[in-house]
Amino acid sequence: MELLGNMLGGFAVALQPINIAAALLGALVGTATGVLPGLGVLGAMAILMPITIHFSAVTGLIMLAGIYYGAMYGGSTTAILLRIPGESGSIVTTIDGYEFARKGRAGSALMICAVGSFIAGTISIVGLSFFTPLLADVALRFSSPEFCLLALLGGLTLVRITGNNPTQNMLMLLVGTALATIGVDAVSGDTRFTFNTGSLALGFDLVPVALGLYGLSELFHVLASNEGFPRADTVRLRDMIPTRSEWSRAWPAIVRGSGIGFLIGLLPGPGSLTSTFASYGLEKAIAGVHKHEFGKGAVEGFAGPEAANNAVATSALVPVLSLGIPFTPNVALMLGALIVQGIQPGPLLLSQHPDVVWGLLASMYIGNVALLALNLPLVGIWVRLLRVPQYSLIAVIFAISFIGVYTVRNSYWDLCVLVGFGVLGSVLRQIGFDLAPMILGLVIGPIFEKALRETLFLSGGELSIFVARPISAVLAALCVLAVVGPTIAAGFRRGVAVPQPS
């Protein structure tokens, strides 16, 4: 009953015209981002983040969330039509989705993906509505040691899972955390690493750093390659109706994918790609008579993974809304947007700012319906978006980035930071460094530092406090598992591998 009351309150916030417009704009920008190869969801969120700061916290958050789940919708379009994943979550869709399209069923594949995304999004939002208050209640029992270990767990998991070089990832996480220490110390008010300059005393704001690393560096890359967008044939609406047999095979995969995606989104680490591979693996394992179709256009091979990546986009919000700890860079940006607005995320967010949390959840229902309504009839327009000249997008995104960053603090220093991190990001990406840990480090660094110093103050400098409390002991064990788990698993796989004859 309380949940229903909260949800109604959320709809009262979400149905305000400005918030409906924010959800629609975010969903449209997200879909466009998903369709256009190159510009990723993190870049689009970073580009629009300075603009969201001029709205209220809930409006800004609704817009950023719209970009996030909208991109998951849009990513499937180019994956199916052109075998190009607009987003990392659509990589698996390129396998069977594209092959299915080659059989002349592109419209049907798009329809299955759009409906699957809608179902997954809706299931995940319902789960989010139930889980967030539950976890927030549990989190009220958390103290500094638990928050310190949660932040550490988020960072370590990302380091171990993304990319193929954990050492470089750890280095990037540490650099991001170190950047967060520059400026005024949030605990004591003292300044650090400022070298008596006013600019450094302000610290490195998340907006120019994230926009530089993900937005500008991508533009530099696109400018150098000048590859242009590929062309795709448009799809007619009447070709989009799946057959009864296609539907009967798709919907169980969609439900299974939604469940997998929701659960993986709750865990630390990059869930989008992981969930799609998990869903694909499951569908292939239980395929039965259709197993031979996998890789050649199996309906389950794209319906399940597409549902999974949409479910992840929503359930990844549970940890940040209930605990105030982001586990992925996308969600870290949303957390950063809240902090910039002066709202401190954490277990008390739900009780202190219910309008923000419930308004966001309610807006996601609206956004999902809008995406379904917009995506299917407008699929031809989304495909035509690839015909927009690339030069105009490059120039306009450069200009929006500069103006957006400048308007946050009216600071020329932030513009220099933007360009500096754009160059740094461009070089680091080119030589194979993953930038996601740096962004996460910049966001979770202050949370980790504050919690660790409070913990040590409480315990009189004793580190045993981390294992003396039951919840923190479990979290400490999970941190150890996050570090050594992949190595043990790899060793185990090597041990059980049957040598193949040469």
């Binding site: 080119q430 194979g432 110093r453």
Partner: protein, 173 residues
């Protein structure tokens, strides 16, 4: 950001296939040196009482780990990551320093010429750099600042810099 494979490339691109491992090693060395600099300054900050509660405790911990992981990353032979690419050279590669120069000129010019004039010229040059025809570039450089004014000044009520030179000219009238 996700690396995507774009098919239907219109322009053949000259690339220099340098070993990504070499660049990663050099970057790790530079980052380790930066870590040493950070560690030196962190070591001069107070550790607090009880130890670990002071302003310098966490930076010291970060600095030590930074140098350790940086050195390890520089010493071991890095594997080529799927994200790593080849360095471009020729005309395409020159676009990046040219874009960077335009960005720096934008920052310097913004305080003098204001947002509209600077953005207009920036868009014109950036669009040309990205391969736009003159006509499209001119349209873009006029339409976009007007759109920005609509969104930021009129819509979001954000004060945009008009520039010292433009303001002085307006005042003198």
């Amino acid at each position: 950001m996700n690396q995507v494979t774009v098919v239907g490339t219109e322009v053949p691109i000259a690339v220099h296939a340098s070993a990504p491992g070499k660049g990663a090693r050099l970057a790790s060395c530079i980052l380790t040196a930066a870590g040493l600099f950070y560690l030196y300054h962190a070591s001069r900050l107070p550790l607090g009482d009880p130890p670990g509660t002071g302003v310098g405790a966490i930076p010291l911990l970060i600095g030590i780990c930074w140098v350790a992981f940086g050195a390890y990353s520089a010493v071991r032979i890095p594997k080529a990551s799927p994200e790593s690419g080849s360095w471009r050279h020729g005309r395409e590669a020159l676009r990046v320093p040219a874009a960077l120069a335009l960005c720096m000129i934008f920052i310097v010019a913004l305080s003098f010429f204001g947002i509209f004039l600077t953005t207009g010229v920036f868009l014109l040059l950036m669009a040309r750099l990205a391969g736009s025809p003159w006509k499209s570039a001119v349209i873009l450089s006029i339409a976009t600042p007007a759109a920005f004014w609509l969104v930021f000044s009129w819509g979001l009520k954000v004060s945009l810099p008009y520039g010292s030179l433009v303001s002085a000219v307006l005042r003198s009238r």
